[in-house]
Amino acid sequence: MPAGRQLCTIIGAALSGTKTDVPDSFDLKGAMEMARYHRILPIAYDALTKAGFTGELMEQAEKMSGHQVFQQTKQNIMESRISAALSEIGIPHYILKGTTLQRYYPEGMIRLSTDSDFYVDEPYMDVVTAVMHHAGFENISYSSEKKTAVFQKRPWYNIEVHFALEDTQYPDEIGFLHTLLENPVPEQDCRLRLNDENLYLHTFFHLYKHYVYANAGVRMFLDIFVLNRSLRPDMERINRRLAAVRLDEFHRVVLRVCDVLFAGAPLDDNTALITDRILMGGTFGNAGQLIYRQQITGNEPAGRVKRNIVRKIFGTSRENLYRKYPILHKAPWLLPLCHIYRAVSGLVRKPWIARLCFRSLRSVSDEQINANKELLTISGLYEGDDSDQ
């Protein structure tokens, strides 16, 4: 844990162009592992270079960072091509999340993104799907609750197209999320981007969703820290808008955590607990965090959470199987065989996911659940339920 916190301090110093004292006991190897786990290796490499680190570990980090930056650049080029294709046929679209945040990071600090995220109005869904197919992408999944389609193209291109910002499972948030698309900034042709305030809110909301779902990693907190410095949003207005969805308290906690991680603010018991969990959980959290958080937030009863974990091991939803194997429309009796095939091939291709899931299912305990309740309470996201009486 100290290596992770120290690395965050070094990154914060690099962002502000200042020097920081690095203790002799600094665990460079541990810091590199944390950076990889949280997918911030190129950022960490830049910060460590500025702090004067050299040697074999840094050379390894340079090679890995170079490979990741190469892939990211290729992803960005593909994203531009898709945007140009949509503009050519007059479809207004936004590019959201990770790839839009790079411009706010200093030159040389490359913020990696898992994929590219587009937003397009729902009536264009069929046309957009055709554009993606024409560009060589395969539609590998669609969520009717989130209205999101995932497209992939070899060797590593991933594009998510969102036809709504909201998840229909959380109707209270729909009104708030609709406002984020208001007053966009035209970029080029039909490409739009969120205005500064809405970009900040959307980035924060994305962090909140992951934090509640399982974990939000260092990268998401770094995004908020960087946006805060770059955009200097009107915090009173931001908190007023977040109060409408009862996230103003959590926002204050997030800002405090950012100051602790990246600006050297003093650590107290609560932020120590929160930052420990952030650093331990990786970019998006692990299966164990998923079970505990979902049980506590009440979004999913424990039994359904376990069913979801089992589904993660043994296959995907019926809807996605029909999408993946169109023959099921003619021969629905093949569905059980498709489930078995997906389960076996998944276990063969990614056995570590099955191991993690089985371990998580076995280790659910009251102690873990209470620990997560405490975490969400001090984060301003949980007020207790009948089981606490």
Binding site: P42, Y45, D46, T49, E62, S65, G66, H67, V69, F70, T73, K74, I77, M78, R81, E107, G108, M109, I110, G136, K153, R154, P155, W156, Y157
Partner: protein
Amino acid sequence: MKLKEGYMLTGFADKYIALATDDNADNAKAIVTLNRTGAFAWKLLETEITYEEAIGRLTEKYDAPEEALRADFNEFLETLRQHGLLDE
């Protein structure tokens, strides 16, 4: 001489990577990693330039003996030729 079309430079920290902009899977690897001097030389070659003009620009930019700059630039050009990136 000039760089061929379809390639670009990207960077992280104080390093630079040259890569093909084509999404052909055969181009799914970085071509060459450059340092800051190499990146400057790359940018010179993005537009048509003669050898002596490039040497002149490098001499203005870097406080180093001209012989050393010529040797480094020749090595850089040879790397580009090996990867088929140079139009001469």
